[in-house]
């Protein structure tokens, strides 16, 4: 068996803080009503700062990460899925959506520590829409909840490399309407100063995240994908919170320190892997299997790097961290001016919406990412639980292979473990590694 120099590994110092913050966010969502706060639920990649501008006691539930958490607890997820199926909901619908609707139907809400409480009904649904399901998700959820006001912002407009002023006009018109709508339904006023504060947090969160992620280009990589899952959660749910901005700054500093000292994510890094899209959340142990037995580690993913985040690309086509505006520059002008700047930040080329709105560009960026993060292979999850992230996935495979990067595809379901064959997938991984000449690690 091949011998490699062992890499020093250490637990992440910010890990405990991340876990505690995540638990706190969910607890706040449930408890905020006790002190007159507001619960708003919706899709992630939402205008976080806009929503938070209605008060520090507004707590947003980003439904997809919540449902990913549900999926990670198989027994609970199956209860949710079966409740939906009894209602006639199709088995092949978005796995997250069914975990959410199921929670309403069985009146159970789970915390990350697996404590169950009665389902917390939101005051409002405020969602972005760009896949086929999101607007429909909250439409039906509102009905299941007995009538919850629902507002949707259409973000399927021309963005990124195709962005126009008409696109910005469109989203800002909607956002302005959304602000009036929330004011009408809550009796609260939009606070421009809060918006500035939270928007700046959001910009900095995005910037720190990108800076942290860029550090994973180092060999050995200081962090692996499974750990990234626990952090990028905040990009999606609460990028506007100061605690998140601080956490990501600390994470960036921690990863920089690890790079400086040669601390790796795993003890033996033999193969760097790119992935794309959410995994089968119930079966993350397959990632550990690849790391433990083969030294194969996922170091980059369009999903964890980009979802809820913002990036820039330099003239050579490399991903670089975005530069947040100075506060005084962002704050200048009218509310409309600030909204335009805000949504311009969120409509960059390299953002969450890219896979859905400009898939050819996203495919191109994925190949670039594989090269920039020095990946020698790619794992692509053919996700039966999400057609959105599966958009273009087979073409993604083709383009990566054309770029000389071997690709393993495996079927699963991000929301429903019943659609995933663990032993079959492990066999596929073994065969894949054998095919590309990657041998198992020595037991020493």
């Amino acid at each position: 068996m091949e011998e490699l120099q062992r890499i020093t590994v250490e637990p992440l110092k910010t890990w405990k803080k991340a876990k505690e913050l995540r638990q706190k966010i969910y607890e706040n969502y449930v408890k905020t009503k006790e002190t007159g706060g507001l619960r708003i639920a919706g899709m992630t990649i939402h205008p976080a700062a806009l929503i938070q501008a209605f008060g520090r006691d507004v707590v947003f539930l980003g439904s997809e990460p919540y449902c990913a958490g549900v999926a990670n607890w198989t027994e609970f997820a199956i209860q949710c899925q079966e409740a939906c199926e009894k209602r006639g909901v199709a088995r092949d619908l978005c796995g997250y959506m069914k975990n959410y609707w199921g929670g309403i139907l069985i009146d159970k809400f789970m915390f990350p520590n697996h404590k169950i409480v009665p389902w917390p009904k939101p005051d409002l649904f405020f969602n972005d829409h760009f896949c086929c399901s999101h607007g429909k998700w909250y439409q039906y959820a509102a009905e299941l909840e007995g009538g919850v006001p629902h507002f949707g912002i259409d973000i399927s407009y021309r963005q990124g490399r195709n962005l126009t002023e008409d696109s910005i006009d469109y989203v800002v018109t909607q956002a302005t309407d959304g602000i009036e709508w929330i004011e009408k339904h809550t009796g609260r006023k939009f606070d421009d100063e809060l918006f500035i504060e939270y928007a700046m947090n959001e910009f900095n969160t995005n910037a720190f995240w990108a800076q942290a992620y860029l550090l994973n280009q180092a060999v050995p990589a200081p962090m692996e994908e499974k750990s990234f899952y626990s952090y990028f959660f905040f990009n999606m749910t609460s990028p506007q919170l100061k605690e998140v901005t601080d956490l990501f700054r600390e994470l960036r500093d921690e990863l920089q320190d690890r790079v400086n000292r040669g601390i790796g994510a795993i003890g033996m890094e033999k193969l760097r892997i790119l992935t794309d899209g959410p995994p089968t959340w119930a079966m993350l142990n397959i990632l550990r299997f690849a790391e433990r037995e083969y030294g194969a580690v996922i170091v980059a993913s369009f999903y964890t790097s980009h979802w809820g985040a913002s990036w820039d690309m330099d003239e050579s086509g490399n991903f670089v961290a975005p530069k947040p505006p100075k506060k005084e520059d962002f704050a200048s002008g009218s509310r409309e001016d600030r909204l335009r700047k805000y949504f311009r930040w969120k409509s960059r080329r390299s953002s969450s919406a890219a896979p859905f709105i400009d898939n050819p560009d996203k495919l191109d960026m994925t190949v670039k990412m594989a090269k920039q993060w020095k990946c020698g292979a790619a794992f692509l999850h053919l996700n039966r639980g999400c057609e959105g992230v599966s958009l273009g996935i087979m073409e993604n495979k083709y383009l990566l292979q054309r770029a000389g990067i071997p690709v393993l595809t495996y079927e699963g379901n991000m929301g429903d473990a019943r659609d995933f064959d663990v032993s079959g997938t492990i066999t596929k991984i073994r065969l894949f590694f054998e095919n590309i000449g990657l041998k198992k690690l020595s037991k020493n």
Binding site: K136, S167, Y170, T173, E387
Partner: protein, 377 residues
């Protein structure tokens, strides 16, 4: 009388090739009925909707589209990859569901084509700012076409395009009025062929045949038992064999008197209302039409329309035809089923894939009709 529609529906590829030879023009394929054909007609192009062929083997698309995408998008791409649309000069998509986006982008990537255009049509058909934004997309589309064809599209051209499409819609609606009657003089199969052929041939020709058919309808008597009056609700449905089976192949008589899907009423139920700004007028038509479920949020606009159709066409039973893996329509099924039940409308659900198991569906639909007939007794 309806043989022309049938012929056009059967021979859509030959028709397009002949049209090109005869007119020296260009043919543009589109994937979804949100594409404003008015602008394509204004540019003297022939818009044709791309359909699959319901062949069992479409494994040719497996390297391109994930298996759990709908059979419609896979069927469309399969036709392209098999070279059946080699006569197309261009392809266009008005942003709709993800599956159609996938078919479009894969087509663009792998099948040589002179021209392609992706229009970022809003999903927010109820949001503020939608008209202005969509107009800006139509401007870009028009400019892109002008660059390709090498000439400007004037307001007169747009008026001409609007008139062609409006006439077609109006004539189809007039024909559909006859389906409200007891013992309608138009079967569901004939109506489907009329709509299908309007999506695949030159509407100028189609309008002439529609007018001729319309003249004869008041005196037309069909030698058949109307049976149970049925409605189909679904996504894309161009399955003529299935429609024929319902009306001719069951042991109990039935007639499809109306449908709500995009090879049906959704396609032609509203017109362009003329205004000085032609592009704005066209944009309004598409944003204000009965929506595809993928765009029907936050308020439900589709459901009241369905209930209205049921009432106007005296529907006695509804067949919910679900294309497998079509998320937007699937999301609507549970609340729609509940709504129909609350309104006392018997409903039967069938799920379709690329090929349709006619034998099994025959048995199931006969059972459905039997229950309806027993209830009526």
């Amino acid at each position: 009388m309806t043989e022309k529609f049938q012929q056009w529906a059967d021979n859509r590829h030959d028709y397009a090739r002949e049209w090109k030879k005869k007119n020296g023009g260009k043919v543009v394929g589109y994937f979804c009925t949100y594409m404003p054909e008015e602008i394509l007609y204004a540019a003297d192009l022939l818009p044709v909707r791309i359909f699959g062929s319901h062949e069992p083997d479409i494994s040719i698309v497996e390297p391109h589209i994930f298996g759990m995408y709908c059979p419609v998008c896979r069927g469309c791409l399969a036709e392209g990859l098999k070279g059946r649309y080699e006569y197309l000069n261009g392809i266009v998509l008005a942003q709709s569901c993800m599956h159609m986006r996938q078919a479009f982008w894969s087509w663009e990537m792998h099948i040589p084509i002179e021209y392609s255009h992706y229009m970022w049509m809003p999903h927010g058909i109820q949001v503020k700012g939608r008209y202005e934004y969509f107009r800006s997309e139509l401007v870009l589309f028009k400019e892109s076409l002008e660059k390709w064809i090498g000439k400007k599209i004037s307001d007169d051209d747009l008026d001409r395009g609007i008139d062609i499409c409006n006439t077609n819609c109006r004539l189809l609606r007039q024909i559909y009025e006859f389906r409200k009657q007891d013992n309608p003089p138009v079967t569901g199969e004939e109506a489907m062929e009329a709509v299908l052929s309007s999506q695949t041939c030159d509407k100028k020709e189609h309008n002439k045949v529609l007018k001729g058919f319309l003249k004869k309808l008041p005196n037309r008597k069909l030698d058949r038992d109307q049976g149970t009056r049925l409605m189909i609700i679904g996504s894309e449905d161009d399955d003529r064999e299935f429609t024929k089976m319902i009306e001719q192949g069951l042991s109990l008589p039935a007639t499809l008197v109306i449908e709500e899907h995009c090879v049906g009423t959704r396609y032609f139920w509203n017109d362009v209302v003329p205004e000085k700004d032609r592009l704005m007028a066209i944009g309004r038509r598409y944003l204000d039409r009965i929506p595809c479920p993928s765009k029907d949020w936050p308020e439900r606009l589709r459901f009241p329309h369905i209930l209205n159709l049921i009432k106007e066409y005296k529907v006695e039973g509804v067949i919910l035809m679900q294309q497998k893996f079509c998320d937007p329509h699937e999301t609507d099924i549970p609340p729609l089923t509940k709504l129909l039940k609350e309104n006392g409308i018997p409903t039967y659900f069938v799920e379709l894939d690329t090929t349709v198991a006619l034998g099994q569906f025959r048995t199931r639909l006969e059972a459905f009709l039997e229950t309806l007939t027993m209830e009526l007794l």
